[in-house]
């Protein structure tokens, strides 16, 4: 023994610091086999099938877990449906208390939950633990949101059955970030965890029971990823599906559910690219890359894959990065000194050889640390000098790979980011605040971390965790579906507008993009002017509406007056719906900016042709977007009357474009145009236009904007 001490004294090596997992193992032994959690009860799967959950490090069987079949899905959804009315209409205080109880219990059981996550997935325990502490905070934050729902969201929230469905091992924290707002807004849920990340969710189900959450509000179905996802998301009773998986699977799902009335939220695997300028603290960049690119075995959605670095510091940065990776420790996920788990996530094991083959085909250099065992698994791998045209940039890499590319200036960096088609987050490094903010303001993403990466705070919404996002009607959530409607873009000659007309409308809308750069005051002025001009011609418009719809004059007057009021509202919102700044501990500012999306395609409903049109166009342009609208058939003459009004109100050319014709044909054509940033299709399903809580306000403003958070840690 003594000799060993002196050996260590010489080599100064680290020893194992293993955490005990016995608490988790004995809990699993007591609880298994795990049943399905439906209607507040543990019920055996109809077909009686179970699968083994394995500890990937040793292959030991941890527990036997039920496999749900279509009949079980039916029961789970039915239980969520039957719990809906009571939970959806419960007092805000009631929901807040339940959510706070969940937070408290998660905190109490954080150690066990973290161990379960690590045993199940092979993820490093340090990461699981850090995130569990945050998971408790997320629930307590949304307990607060639930509490305030009656006053802050006054009647604007509508609830339904929401499916949370993951097909890639989703960290428990990410599930909580989706689940908490969903419950706070009064929805009931069916959770389908990924096959290799279900044990912690089963423990959570036990917590749901322990806090006496009303039966059916939360249901958990375990089972096969693909078949269960297919059956579950096809159910007709759903209001929303929140899907976590690969980008390809996500867009396939969205395509499948188009027009189904189910709102789809994607939390797809995208990576955070790094943009490193010449005046960055390169040593700190290296730590940021190591934290992000290799967390959660490189499979986390917050992992990095693209490192864009200004040409003149590329060599220095790569040298530092290589030296740093050499000191990383790969090993047992339960060891406190492990940086990288030795466990490679599903799908990553076979992913490396084709990447290396492609790299050598493209004559790309790559590098792996000397401690990597050749030919096994997926060690950290850096590919150098990757050009935008490289095939590597097109693939979704499931492991810890980093693609390094160089740029000369900000403009080129932004271009590269566009080409790599990365996700909704970017990490920017520069010690010059002008450079950093210039880059941050030009990026069209949800989060920009300046000189940092993956900073989170439960109170700063990220990736659609606003309560509105889970209560927004399906018709207001469609993004442009160029893929979905491909094949429908053929021009069918109609009596009115054609595809060519749509294209020129889109071109005009694009040309008018400087509308978003106008001051909010200038946009408000235009909306006020439009309202006033409409007021002057109130009776003319009422007459036209009465003629076209056959409704009586008084009813038509009511519609015009409501339209005027709506324009006034959005003029006010134009100057009011704005960002904020929040100061967090550890010297960090988070700036929330509200930005326009671009061109929004709008299809308006038949009922109340003027009010429907105004209700959709006004929030869009108030927030700086330009619009291509296809109005109701009955509205064509009303629209014709509207044109001179637009002109006299000084709406700039191209901000509002209206194409009349066969609405069904035009809609499909319009949805297929890739220039659109969003597409709102309001057909037979629409709100009560006279009910302002339903038909005006923040739900619409959120749909018309992108919220960008710019994280700015500081300190000299």
């Amino acid at each position: 023994m003594g000799k060993q001490i002196m050996e260590i004294f010489e080599t100064m090596e680290y020893g194992p610091v293993l955490e005990s997992a016995s608490q988790a193992r004995s809990w699993l032994q007591e609880q298994q086999p795990f049943q399905l959690f439906i209607g507040g009860q543990w019920s055996t799967p109809v077909a009686g099938h179970y699968a083994d959950a394995l500890y990937p490090v040793t292959g030991e069987v941890l527990a036997s877990v039920a496999v749900a079949e279509p009949d079980d899905v039916e029961q789970a959804v039915a239980s969520a449906v039957s719990a809906l009315s009571a939970w959806g209409s419960a007092r805000a205080q009631t929901r807040a208390r339940y959510l706070y109880a969940l937070s408290r219990h998660i905190q109490q059981h954080a150690a066990l939950l973290a161990l379960l996550e690590t045993l199940d997935s092979g993820r490093v325990l340090r990461e699981s633990r850090g995130e569990l502490a945050q998971a408790a905070r997320v629930f307590s934050y949304y307990a607060g949101q639930a509490q305030l729902a009656e006053s802050v969201y006054a009647g604007e929230l509508t609830s339904g059955v929401v499916v949370l469905c993951a097909t890639v091992a989703q960290p428990f924290l990410q599930l909580v970030q989706q689940l908490a707002p969903v419950l706070a807004a009064g929805n009931t849920v069916v959770i389908k965890p990924a096959r290799h990340a279900s044990l912690a969710v089963l423990k959570f189900a036990e917590i749901v029971q322990a806090v006496d959450l009303p039966a059916g509000v939360v249901n958990v179905l375990t089972g096969d990823d693909d078949t269960l996802t297919q059956v579950l998301t096809s159910h007709t009773a759903l209001a929303s599906v929140v899907f976590s998986g690969t980008k390809a699977a996500g867009s396939a799902l969205r395509k499948r559910l188009v027009g189904s009335g189910t709102n789809v939220q994607l939390s797809v695997v995208t990576r955070t690219p790094f943009v490193v300028f010449e005046d960055a603290d390169l040593d700190s960049v290296v730590e940021g890359v190591v934290d992000a690119a290799w967390s959660n075995q490189g499979s986390l959605s917050a992992a990095a894959t693209n490192l864009l670095v200004q040409e003149n510091v590329a060599t220095a940065l790569v040298g530092k990065l290589r030296a740093r990776i050499e000191t990383l420790r790969s090993g047992d996920p339960l060891d406190r000194t492990t940086d990288l788990s030795s466990i490679i996530p599903d799908g990553a094991i076979d992913a490396l050889p084709p990447l290396l083959a492609q790299a050598s085909k493209e004559r790309l250099q790559y590098w792996q640390p000397s401690w990597a065992e050749q030919g096994t698994g997926f060690p950290p791998t850096i590919f150098f000098d990757v050009a935008p045209a490289s095939q590597l940039t097109q693939s979704e890499i499931p492991g810890p790979a980093l693609l390094v590319s160089t740029f000369r200036d900000l403009k080129e960096a932004l271009g590269l980011l566009g080409t790599f088609g990365n996700g909704q987050t970017v990490s920017i490094w520069s010690e010059n605040i002008n450079v950093a903010l210039d880059a941050a303001s030009q990026l069209k993403v949800e989060a920009v971390w300046i000189n940092s990466v993956n900073l989170q705070d439960s109170a700063v919404a990220l990736n659609g965790t606003d309560l509105y996002d889970y209560t927004r009607p399906a018709w207001l959530t469609g993004e442009a579906l160029s893929a979905a409607t491909a094949g429908h873009t053929q021009n069918k000659q109609t009596s009115g507008g054609s595809l060519a007309d749509l294209r020129s409308a889109v071109a005009a809308a694009k040309k008018a993009s400087s509308w978003s750069e106008r001051t909010t005051q200038a946009r408000a002025q235009v909306l006020y002017a439009l309202a006033e001009n409409l007021a002057v011609r109130e009776t003319d418009f009422a007459q036209r509406i009465a003629e076209q719809t056959g409704r009586d004059h008084a009813d038509a007057i009511k519609e015009v007056q409501a339209s005027i009021a709506r324009l006034f509202s959005y003029a006010a919102w134009a100057e009011t719906f704005a960002g904020s700044t929040r100061r967090l501990p550890e010297q960090t500012l988070v700036m929330e900016t509200v930005e326009s999306l671009g061109i929004i395609g709008v299809v308006t409903p038949d009922a109340y042709p003027l009010l429907g049109l105004i209700s959709l166009i006004a929030p869009a342009i108030a927030m700086g977007n330009t619009v291509v609208a296809i109005p109701a058939r009955q509205a064509s003459l009303v629209v014709a009357d509207l044109y001179p009004l637009l002109e006299s109100a000084h709406v700039p050319a191209g901000v509002i474009n209206i194409v009349t014709g066969d609405r069904d044909v035009l809609s499909k054509d319009l949805a297929g145009l890739r220039e659109l940033a969003a597409f709102w299709y309001c057909g037979s399903a629409h709100p009560d236009w006279f009910n302002t809580a339903q038909s005006e306000g923040r739900t619409f403003l959120r749909a018309a904007t992108r919220i960008k958070h710019i994280w700015l840690p500081y300190g000299a």
């Binding site: 003594g2 001490i5 260590i8 020893g15 730590e287 940092s452 550890e586 840690p713 300190g715």
Partner: protein, 321 residues
């Protein structure tokens, strides 16, 4: 003169004689390229604490290593020959013989003793027959607000009296006023006065306002020929902190990458527990590698740290029996 080699001299391979950093002409272009982000550095320190840990034999071995790196320090107005003699005896025998035996460690000393100039003769006498270095603080320690010539003379006098290491303090005013040339010239003059004695330059980082200043001052002291760069005097409100240390270590790494010369590092002030000492060793290990965990390139300036390490090791040994 007979020499009793210390444990580290006898056993460690790292005792290959290092080539001393000769310094460079002042390169302001290089200094100007320094970019330091404090928030990210503080984050790195938090992350590191969660990623590395030591227990059992590993912790014991690392604590023994920490002892060999201590500059056992007495820097008070009331120091007399008697307490400095006690200090020297402790430096030569930091652990009881039975503890050493139980740990299988043949012999062990601290890295050096660190005292004021006036007490050098006492230490020379007390350490006679050992080759334990005597480090003397100098140049108007701790404030450094003495006439320049007097400060240079103080170094010469200490070297003549038997100090083989000189811990100088820089003029913080040169940093705060951006007079980098003056800083360089000052430190270079001190290095010349040191001659064969090794020079540790104390930046007194608490008084340098920003981490960028800490990094730049570190680079310039190395260009001026520092053998070690040291955080603090131990006489101000905040002394050695890990973020400041990390900033200085990055400067050392950069200097090594650019010139091939290895400069040592000495945190001082506030390193009083075994746990904190291990954090520093881990930081050295992670940022610069194993070589920088040896006392040729790493020292800890401390007075009460040894007592805490001793307690930990005594506990470990008594648990064995």
């Amino acid at each position: 003169m007979t020499t009793t080699k210390s444990w580290t001299d006898a056993v460690s391979n790292a005792e290959v004689v290092l080539e001393r950093n000769p310094g460079l002409p002042l390169d302001m272009g290089w200094v100007g390229r320094a970019h330091i982000n404090r928030n990210a550095i503080e984050r790195r320190i938090r992350v590191l604490a969660a990623r590395r840990a030591l227990q059992d034999e590993w912790q014991v071995a690392w604590l023994l290593r920490a002892i060999t790196c201590i500059d056992l320090t007495a820097l008070s107005g009331d120091d007399t020959p008697s307490n400095v003699r006690h200090l020297c005896v402790k430096a030569l025998q930091p652990l009881r013989a039975n503890v050493l035996a139980a740990l299988g460690c043949p012999t062990l000393t601290t890295g050096a003793v660190c005292i004021y100039h006036n007490l050098i003769p006492t230490a020379v006498q007390a350490l006679e027959g050992s080759n334990l270095p005597i480090a003397a603080v100098s140049t108007g320690f701790p404030a450094g607000q003495a006439p320049f010539e007097q400060k240079v003379d103080e170094i010469r006098a200490s070297v003549r009296a038997g100090a083989s290491e000189i811990d100088i303090v820089i003029s913080r005013a040169h940093v705060l006023t951006g007079n980098w040339q003056a800083l360089y010239d000052e430190v270079k003059a001190y290095r010349e006065a040191c001659g064969a004695a090794h020079m540790k330059t104390i930046l007194e980082t608490y008084e340098l306002a920003t981490l960028s200043n800490v990094y730049k001052a570190s680079l310039i002291c190395m260009m001026a020929g520092a053998d070690f760069i040291k955080t603090s005097t131990g006489k101000v409100a905040v002394n050695a902190t890990l973020p400041v240390g990390l900033t200085m270590l990055r400067a050392i790494r950069e200097y090594h990458e650019q010139t091939g010369y290895k400069v040592g590092f000495k945190p001082a002030g506030g390193v009083s527990s075994a746990a904190v000492a291990l954090n520093w060793l881990i930081l050295m290990h992670e940022e610069l590698g194993v070589e920088w965990t040896h006392n040729t390139l790493f020292r800890i300036g401390a007075s009460s740290l040894l007592g805490d390490i001793e307690r930990q090791l005594n506990n470990y040994v008594s648990a064995l029996s």
